[in-house]
Symmetry: C2
Subunit: 393 residues, 2 copies
């Protein structure tokens, strides 16, 4: 790697990112290449992760939490960039449904991400500058493969439970399909066995918004000292609508005006919902890398477990001994209940142990991140039962 001032700047940038991500995270660097579904390999690669609670002597109490598209490893601590609570603080902690007094909780940042794990903003060892568009296209299975390597590194043979919502749920399914003997129980929440046409369409809109921003610079914005903030904000705004429900938006905002008595006959944010969305867009770009957004949405689009198993979803789970609990939400139109039901049918077809809960909620897809007592009860109960079955007190 040539130590030109430019390269040095990127190393500084990379270190700064790692420092931001680090105070609460560990990072493991792997020198053995990670083979990818696209045929390329990632070498070296890093995985940043966060843990909560204590691994027991039998190493049998690991709960692996998989994060969603724009999530990261900061599950239950203040986020080092935003200063906000962790994304699943209601779920993970002492005495909480995923009880850190009882379980050892691990959440890795996915590869392709931007919170310390290797992704498009990482330095490409071949060039000494950030990968940018030269980063290989990854899949959900690649993410899971990297997580399995992390478990190997930590010397943990298997997981008591792997769980997550949305793209986290896709990882859960991939874990159960790819590492059958390492998954005692699995909780895929608000997800599907394949990304739907409509969901691909929404992702494509987001990507086009990013790529339409001239500051994207064909993906080389870090080198150019630019940032496609506007494009990424638009992408986030569009996506954010899909995470909510019509009812949730109606209850939260209706047609309420923002700091005014009547409409202003202009293009400022007259309505609270506009102001809210703009805030979602603008605050997102402060904590997320635009290329990571492209790569991770692409990984979700490519997700299709049946296709990877001869076109038959049940094949993916043949012979499984994992205990499954699937969860969906009535108002989730991004991953509707029907998609969870298809997974249940496939699991039934291979006589898997499976329970399925459809939770009545008007919060839309985001329900899995919000205060949903029935979700808390479901996870607490399922996890407890799995732990007892494994002899964990």
């Amino acid at each position: 790697m040539s130590e030109t001032p430019t390269a040095q700047a990127f190393i500084d940038h990379s270190l700064r990112l790692a420092q931001i991500a680090n105070p609460e995270s560990a990072i493991v660097h792997f020198n053995d290449p990670l083979p990818l579904d696209c045929g390329a390999e990632l070498s070296p690669f890093s995985t940043a992760y966060k843990t909560y609670g204590t691994l027991n002597a039998e190493k049998s109490n690991l709960v692996l939490v998989c994060h969603a598209l724009t999530g990261d490893q900061h599950v239950a601590n203040l986020h080092p960039v935003t200063g906000k609570p962790g994304w699943w603080e209601t779920m993970v902690g002492p005495g909480k449904p995923i009880d850190t007094d009882r379980y050892f909780v691990l959440c890795p940042n996915v590869i392709g991400g931007c919170m310390g794990s290797t992704g498009p903003s990482s330095l490409n060892p071949a060039t000494g500058i950030p990968y940018g568009p030269d980063f290989p296209v990854i899949t959900v299975r690649d993410m899971v493969r990297a997580q399995a390597r992390l478990l190997d590194h930590l010397g943990i043979p298997d997981v008591l439970c792997v769980l997550g919502g949305s793209m986290g749920g896709m990882q859960v399914l991939e874990w159960a399909a790819t590492y059958k003997d390492r998954v005692f129980s699995a909780v895929p929440i608000a997800c599907a066995a394949r990304h739907s046409s409509q969901n691909i369409a929404f992702h494509e809109v987001g990507r086009q918004a990013v790529m339409a921003d001239p500051e994207w610079c064909q993906g080389r914005y870090l080198e150019e000292g630019k940032s496609p903030r506007k494009g990424l904000a638009v992408a986030r705004m569009a996506a954010h609508i899909t995470y909510l429900s019509d009812a949730a938006l109606h209850q939260k905002f209706g047609r309420n005006l923002q700091d005014r008595e009547k409409v202003a006959f202009g293009f400022d944010a007259d309505f609270q919902v506009e102001s809210y969305l703009r805030y979602q867009g603008v605050s997102f770009v402060d904590r997320f890398d635009a290329n990571s957004y492209l790569y991770i949405t692409r990984a979700m689009d490519y997700f299709d477990i049946a296709a990877d198993h001869g076109g038959v979803l049940a094949n993916a789970f043949a012979g499984t001994r994992t205990r499954f609990c699937l969860v969906s939400f009535t108002s989730d139109w991004l991953f509707p209940t029907e998609e969870s039901r298809e997974i249940v049918h496939a699991l039934n077809a291979v006589a898997a142990k499976v329970s399925f809960v459809e939770i009545k909620s008007d919060k839309g897809h985001d329900a899995f991140l919000l205060h949903e007592p029935e979700l808390f009860d479901t996870i607490r109960g399922f996890l407890s039962a799995a732990a007892r079955k494994r002899g964990i007190l």
Copy 2:
């Protein structure tokens, strides 16, 4: 107006647009100002329109068709810009449900539009350059007010039927509320009495996409010789998804790949749905003005008939003698059936003559533009009954 070369260029541009729109349309220029809801007025202003069939001697057979957000007056003829069939050719024509052998069909381009009626791309008489962001923010009621002026000009006292889908349906409701004595019957299709929070949110995403494009130039792209094509294409893509249904996308595209056997591990359009959406975006910008898109979406956001009548929707229709037929589609999630039902309730509250048809369709919001035999039958039957009631053979 100073005849500088620049101003001349815009006049040429304006004339060229008018010529494109004109071969199939008439344009009426009004010198009397059009008062607008925002308090400003438009003066002078023009309305381009298209007619089909013949006005009878009694002037009692006018069917006024109101177009949707991105529609125009080219209902049933080849579109002069795209060369494609008119947007409602299945509905309007000799022997068709809106039978031009029987009815005189009129469709005006809305003000704010870009197919010959005065809009943000028109020359501002005060400056001699296109209005751009100086165009006043208009409302659906303003559009309807301009249409009433057109009827006055044509010497037609009232309409046998006013009908339209989506924003066209909003205009229908506004006609029935504002010009009670001029509307014999009304068919609002796939619409609502007010724009929902979720719909405002999607519009805001589209507007932000346009305004994020540096070629938007704060709305002065015509003067700068630029065009926010990328931003407008992204806006159209996002909107287009909302016009369809999950089921329609699934049936049409599923996860089918575009001209390839397997995914390419890149950001080209691997999936047919991506390719389709990109085409929708790119082809739209060839026929639509970006500022018109901003202004018309804003008019829809502002639409809230109840708010204009003391907060009670029924008040808007008190004393109406209009015969109503409302139509909704089961898979329309942009304007769900519930929203039509609210209008029906309000009409019932004032003892209006109202029928309501919810059509089972998996085509989503766009169903009103597509081959839906039950819609054809409904409109043919309702219109025939209204015509008979009026003594039209």
